[in-house]
């Protein structure tokens, strides 16, 4: 029954998406009153659809929880002996389930937008909901026509074939859905952008409606990338945290676009400038998330490590991509020139700094896009090339370094027009920190140019992040300003971690027999023993290490080399000791022959990575900044709405008292 109800809910949701699309389009014809009345169905369709899609996903979740082996998806991706938590996370650890999660979140955001948002002009709202319905429709079609998650097996399976062991890790179980939520948030921003473009209402009010969605998407993307990077770091067993591989780039590109969009939409909200930019970035951000999905699932680029690869699905996503992105870019091309550019500003203004950094972010995005897609282009001509860190790092830095410099100064500038002389003190302070740090690091040792620049910039940025507080009363600083400070500080912290890791990491690889001691960066690490251990669905070789720092108390470490048996697969579980100034990272590898005394030797890999954790602390700070900004904006918004409402009531009372005045109109609330 579960599967049938789930499938029925999905079909109904599809029908409602069609209704939403049609009603939304009709809502644009305001000349016809009957048609306009029909448009009210768009909102209701979105709300009910949200309920149905979430119900459908909930039912699949339930089927996984009870391991209903008559459902093909459960039988091929789960196992009755798995811990419950991994049964649940297994729901989205496969193509069909993750697409259902995607549409459920998409429908939920559509429902929230339709149900709660009253500030936007009705016609723009209709257009937005129509676009949202159209986007959702494509994904419903995808699910129902080529990846039905509720497909039954003719005969129920006796036992499930298990979940990829790498997904049996809490970090990884959470990381993909976090990214999906981010992608979906960008789809709402996209619908809003297309809605506003259709009705030519690219106004500050529209920007204020769009901003929380962009912030929301951006927070989730940040968290998703942070979690993914930390997962790769501790799970892959070689201490790397970013590899510039296509799948990672696929998640980075929407983030870059969303970051630019976030700043652009803020300018539009505050100053009514950058109208076409905001629309373009709205389209771009969603394009990048669709592109990422396409690259990961179609296998055109990297089928060896792509997820749930299937050319048929790839074709489907490409068609969707063509419809959404091709369509929106075509509309953009035709209509963009009809949108006035908006208010003007000078180069030395906050808008000026934001424009500069948006251009830099877009350029970085272009570099990542080029480097990711270039191998695809050459393969069309049967030439295989590799593009990796030695390309991305310097090419990205060309644009990242000026961006960080402007980022330090930008928040100190005033809107519209400012004189650099006004912030002379701050400029001198930032410049002296920067130069001082470069000189200091250059004296300390011989490090790569990028590492030195990164370290110096991070210190200067960290200090600059707090400068906007100068001359403000701490208690009265708006929450959204704190959000900005937090996020910019997060960038500095993250950058510091990255530069420090690349400059100061120490590595020790050794083949050792139990009883041997290795030294690394003030740590003494002894291999005490190596023993076989067993878990619920795996067996492993476990090393016992004791590590002590500068002769201090010994801490026990137990890295494992695991072998899962359903399905059969090997993983390495690294062991970490976290200190405020870095992490000790230990991995046990294969056997490495016999030593002179006839003892079995093992591969041991140890790293000391100074301040590596700052990379992810920074990511968390950035997200926290985003959350503070959302809370701050929503609070201000609610307060204003209440004030307007009170004002309206008072006026209504007054009008009633005077009896001579005409009754107040139900005017749209000014924000």
């Amino acid at each position: 029954m579960i599967a049938e109800v789930g499938l029925a809910a999905l079909w109904l949701a599809t029908a409602l998406a069609i209704l939403q699309l049609v009603a939304g389009v009709l809502g644009l014809k305001t000349s016809d009153a009957r048609m306009a009345a029909f448009s009210t169905y768009a909102r209701q369709a979105a709300v009910v659809q949200a309920f149905l899609a979430v119900l459908s996903f909930g039912l699949l979740l339930w089927a996984f929880a009870i391991t209903d082996l008559s459902i093909k998806l459960v039988a091929t991706n789960s196992h009755s002996m798995k811990p419950l938590i991994y049964k649940l996370t297994g729901t989205w650890g496969n193509h069909e389930g993750s697409m259902l999660l995607w549409v459920a979140v998409l429908a939920l955001s559509g429902g929230l937008l339709a149900g709660l948002e009253r500030r936007l002009q009705e016609r723009t709202m209709s257009a937005t909901l129509a676009v949202q319905g159209f986007v959702a429709l494509g994904f419903y079609a995808f699910l129902l026509l080529s990846s039905n998650p509720f497909e039954r097996l003719p005969i129920p399976a006796f036992e499930g074939s298990g979940l990829n062991p790498l997904l049996q890790d809490i970090g990884l179980a959470i990381h993909p859905p976090t990214l999906y939520v981010g992608y979906v948030g960008l789809s709402v921003a996209f619908s809003l952008a297309m809605g506003a473009l259709t009705t030519k209402q690219v106004t500050p009010d529209f920007a204020k409606v769009m901003r929380p969605w962009v912030l929301f998407a951006w927070v989730f993307l940040t968290l998703g990338i942070t979690a993914g990077s930390y997962w790769a770091y501790y799970e892959l067993g070689w201490g790397g945290w970013w590899f510039w591989d296509p799948v990672e780039n696929a998640s980075l590109m929407p983030w870059l676009a969303a970051t630019a969009l976030l700043h652009s939409v803020s300018v539009l909200a505050a100053r009514d400038a950058l109208r076409t930019w905001t629309i373009m970035l709205g389209v771009l951000a969603f394009s990048m998330s669709m592109l990422g999905t396409f690259l990961v699932r179609s296998g055109v680029l990297t089928s060896v490590h792509a997820f749930a690869v299937d050319p048929e699905r790839g074709t489907f996503i490409l068609v969707l991509l063509g419809l959404y992105i091709g369509g929106s870019l075509a509309i953009f091309a035709v209509r963009a020139s009809s949108i006035a550019e908006g208010k003007r500003f000078s180069a030395t203004s906050r808008e000026g700094a934001l424009v500069f950094n948006n251009v830099m972010l877009s350029a970085i995005l272009a570099i990542v896009l080029l480097g990711t897609l270039y191998p695809l282009l050459t393969e069309a001509f049967d030439v295989r090339v590799s593009v990796g860190p030695p390309y991305f790092n310097p090419a990205g830095a060309i644009f990242a370094v000026p961006m960080f410099l402007v980022m330090a100064v930008g928040p100190l500038l005033r809107w519209k027009n400012d004189k650099p002389a006004r912030i002379k003190v701050e400029l001198v302070l930032i410049a002296s920190i920067l130069i001082g740090a470069v000189v200091l690091i250059a004296v300390l040792g011989d490090y790569s140019v990028l590492a030195v620049l990164g370290l110096a910039l991070s210190v200067a940025l960290g200090a600059a992040a707090f400068l906007p507080l100068r001359g403000r009363k701490i208690g009265r600083t708006p929450l959204s300003t704190w959000g900005m400070i937090m996020a910019h500080l997060g960038v500095a912290v993250s950058l510091f971690g990255m530069a420090s890791e690349s400059a100061f990491t120490q590595e020790r690889l050794a083949a050792v027999a139990p009883g041997t001691t290795e030294e690394i960066a003030g740590w003494t690490v002894t291999l005490d023993s190596v023993d076989p251990v067993a878990g619920p669905n795996w067996t492993a070789i476990e090393a016992r290490l004791s590590a002590s720092r500068n002769g201090g108390e010994a801490i026990s470490l137990t890295p494992q080399a695991r072998n899962f048996w359903a399905p059969s697969q090997a993983t390495s579980e690294s062991a970490l000791i976290t200190r405020w100034d870095g992490q000790l990272y230990a991995v046990i590898g294969d056997t490495a022959g016999i030593d002179a005394e006839g003892n079995q030797r093992w591969q041991l890999r140890i790293w000391w990575k100074p301040f590596v954790t700052f990379i992810w602390y920074g990511g968390l700070l950035i997200s926290l900044g985003g959350i503070l900004a959302i809370i701050g904006r929503v609070r201000v918004d609610l307060r204003r709405r209440r004030a307007v409402q009170l004002g309206n009531e008072r006026r209504a009372d007054q009008a009633a008292l005077e009896e001579t005045a005409s009754p107040p109109k139900a005017e749209p609330e000014p924000v």
Binding site: V300, V304, P311, L318, A330, L376, E379, R384
Partner: protein
Amino acid sequence: MRTIFFIPLALFLFFAGLAGYMLTQEKDQTVASAMIDKSLPEFNLEPAYDGLPGASRRDFIGGEPKLLNVWASWCLPCIAEAPQLETLKERGVEIIGIAIRDKPEDVANFLARHGNPYTRIGADDISALQIEIGAAGVPETFVIDGDGNIRYQHIGDIRENDVPKLLQILEDVR
């Protein structure tokens, strides 16, 4: 209408066309050697087990073109191609094997079970020769002419329909 606003659309259409084209293409995951038509590097490998002599570059010089078969007893596709190697041997082709990271007893077992088409087998315990000739995996088969030049690379196991092609190439490079 300003043309600048059409640039994103144009770029996108270019990408979509490329991606669409690539979706229709058979995905080629192999890494081809860049050593084709170059001279076989100097090498001298110990015997992989005590039944056959080891292999060196000298063994390819003079006489008919020969096959250099990179294989291993732990490699499953190598079992699949064993009958085809046997056919080639029956057609008079000399096959010199290079066993990758293999133990003598495993080599002997493999040959006892799946047949021995080789005249010599060199042991390459650290993939040194494999890397020298640009072989990225196991099994791979190279056609070496009488002057010691690498003329052709076959990646993966040799299927039945590959045999005539290999014979033709061996004929062509005489």
